[in-house]
């Protein structure tokens, strides 16, 4: 394959125009592009719940008394919490929560045990990342009973007078980012990723195999058109379709489900473009491998199912076993979900989303280089 030849803009534009004309004539595909997001939105408006455990928790302990330690141990014993960090400052705790590295931050105030012994009914603060309410719901409900029982054990001997009272301390829970625990807040942005994955991979997968199946590929290859021109030229219409779908979903999220939009919409669209590009590259690569449209379809589903199941869309990511999380971390959808939830619900900025941007970029680059290598410049 001689790549030294110059990229011709007019040839590239010719391919773009042709794709648009063909798309315009293909009514069924067009209906699917608009219908798919709407149907999915309606179906998934009612969410799926699950019961994840061992959720990463950070503890900000200003009071390191036996009572406080016993409380933390009791939380860990409940299986729902796993203390991964001891933090020193509120700012650090906040950062961990915003980045999504921990699900909870427990703050034990300085004079907690002193106040407890005096019977002053002190307060503990538990902040939860509630972007995905199903991930935190059960953990939070366990905690309310837990506090009293654990402290009671410590309150023997001279402190027995406290044990009789109903709640020796108060647990204040802050559900951050999604205070009312509304599942749609999580599901609707997530759907954006799922729908894009589905349509983008499938559409491009079909676009190229259709040429091969109908025999028109041979004609295209006999012209001086370069692989780069054909591949990118075919992608353009689908980028536009992806943006239309995203806008549809965002409009529904805003006006139908009243999902808050904390972050920059511009930043959101930028990440959407990146995600679309990654999926289109995958679709192109599939279409270089697939012999016919059926195979392209099968490959799309082979990729789509794990994306849907292991990305944290269907089930809370932290509820999955380690190996499943490892697989999930390879998928662009996993990172895209975190990006969208981060931007929409947490108001993440560019700096905070970077850890989830590069895996998508890497995925796109790897897939594209494989695709270009496999593109059959010649018909064998």
């Amino acid at each position: 394959m001689n790549m030294g030849d110059r990229f011709s803009f007019s040839r590239w534009w010719g391919i773009v125009v042709k794709e648009f004309i063909q798309l315009k004539r293909d009514r069924l595909t067009f209906a699917m592009i608009v219908g798919f997001p709407i149907i999915q939105l309606v179906l998934f408006g009612f969410a799926i719940n699950s019961d994840p455990r061992h959720l990463p928790t950070a503890v900000l302990a200003a009071d390191n008394s036996p009572i406080a330690r016993s409380l933390v141990r009791a939380m860990e014993n409940s299986d729902y919490f796993r203390v991964v960090r001891q933090v020193e400052s509120e700012a650090e705790a906040d950062r961990l929560l915003t980045l999504g590295e921990v699900q909870f931050v427990l703050t034990i105030p300085e004079d907690f045990s002193r106040k407890l012994m005096r019977g002053e009914h002190p307060a503990l603060l538990l902040e939860a990342d509630a972007t995905d309410p199903s991930a935190t719901g059960n953990a939070l409900s366990t905690l309310s009973g837990l506090g009293a029982a654990s402290v009671a054990r410590e309150l023997g001997g001279s402190l027995a007078y406290l044990a009789g009272k109903p709640d020796p301390f108060e647990l204040r829970v802050h559900r951050r980012y999604n205070p009312e625990g509304i599942t749609q807040y999580n599901v609707v942005p997530g759907l954006m990723g799922v729908i894009l994955t589905m349509t983008m991979v499938l559409m491009t997968g079909l676009a190229m195999t259709r040429e091969r199946e109908r025999g028109t590929m041979e004609n295209l290859l006999a012209t001086p058109a370069r692989p780069m021109e054909v591949m990118t030229g075919k992608i353009v219409p689908y980028i536009l379709i992806g943006l239309i779908q995203v806008s549809l979903i965002l409009a529904a999220a805003r006006f139908l489900f009243a999902v808050p939009m904390q972050g920059s919409i511009l930043l959101l669209y930028a990440t959407v473009l990146l995600f679309i590009a990654a999926n289109l590259m995958l679709g192109m690569t599939f279409s270089t491998i697939a012999r016919n449209q059926l195979q392209a379809m099968q490959m799309t589903f082979f990729f789509f199912l794990p994306s849907m199941l292991l990305s944290g869309f269907m089930f809370p990511f932290r509820g999955m076993p380690d190996w499943a999380q490892a697989v999930g971390n390879l998928l662009p959808l996993t990172h895209f979900l975190r990006l969208v939830r981060g931007i929409l619900l947490k108001g993440n900025g560019l700096l905070e989303i970077l850890p989830h941007v590069w895996p998508i970029v890497l995925f796109a680059l790897v897939v594209m280089s494989v695709g270009l290598k496999l593109y059959r410049k010649t018909v064998d």
Binding site: R11, R214, N219, T223, P224, T378
Partner: protein
Amino acid sequence: MPDENYAIDVRGLNKHFGRHHVVRDLALQVRRGEIFGFLGPNGSGKTTSIRMLCGLLVPDSGSGTCLGLDVIRQPQEIKRRVGYMTQRFSLWEDLTIQENLEFIARMYGMKNIKTAVAASLSRLGLSDRRKQLAGQLSGGWKQRLALASCMLHEPELLLLDEPTAGVDPKARRDFWDQIHGLAASGMSVLVSTHYMDEAERCHKLAYIAWGKLLATGTAAEVVAGCGLTAWEVSGSRLSELAAQLRSLAGVDQVTAFGNVLHVVGRDGQKLFEAITPVQESTPHRWQPIEPSLEDAFISLMASADQVFET
């Protein structure tokens, strides 16, 4: 140094697909302005050979030039100057006639797309139907459109892969008149076909079987090269006679043509000895004839089968 008199001049071209050796040591010379017929049974490597000549496939080994350009190193240049018409209709059925031509014109980076397409449409006689989808055209019109599209960029060499398969006799005749007109104006044409009448309309022929070139030359040269002797038999109950003749040593082919049989042998003496007793015992009329091109091809195919099937 490439010889300027040849549009195609290749030697020792080989192509494998997996374990299949599809084209073996192909050597081909087509002069400029010549109509060169490319014949052979299905699956003999004709299409693969044509694809190697137009830069679509890279040969595994071999060398040569196409329009003076190296077939291994300059496929991109070759594509620009060659018109290739695929065996199957390969234009976009969901594009209109005009859109198809415009797309092809853009792919070749042509300058005056609108005028070139308009001229091509009027030459085709399709100006009125230019907004019709290509998929709705009949076989004959599809073939005309395909030819128009591969000539849009004014190539110097046309490679036509079974261009008239499934086209009615009138359209075929028109097509061949057009090809001869083009050749007269200097265009070189390589055309593959299964039709004997078309083979006879070519200036030169090549016969390929099992990926190997078996004969090349003018129609008369190819027939002469086979060294066949032929007899024509007429009379009654020919099918019984044919069965009887086929069982004789020395008789290589017995073919029915309407009311006569062609009896052909590679060795004239042996054939004569074999048929003499039959001539005497049955009341048929026997007459020695010149073997036809078809006799020659069937003989070539049969001898190729003997070599490669053992």
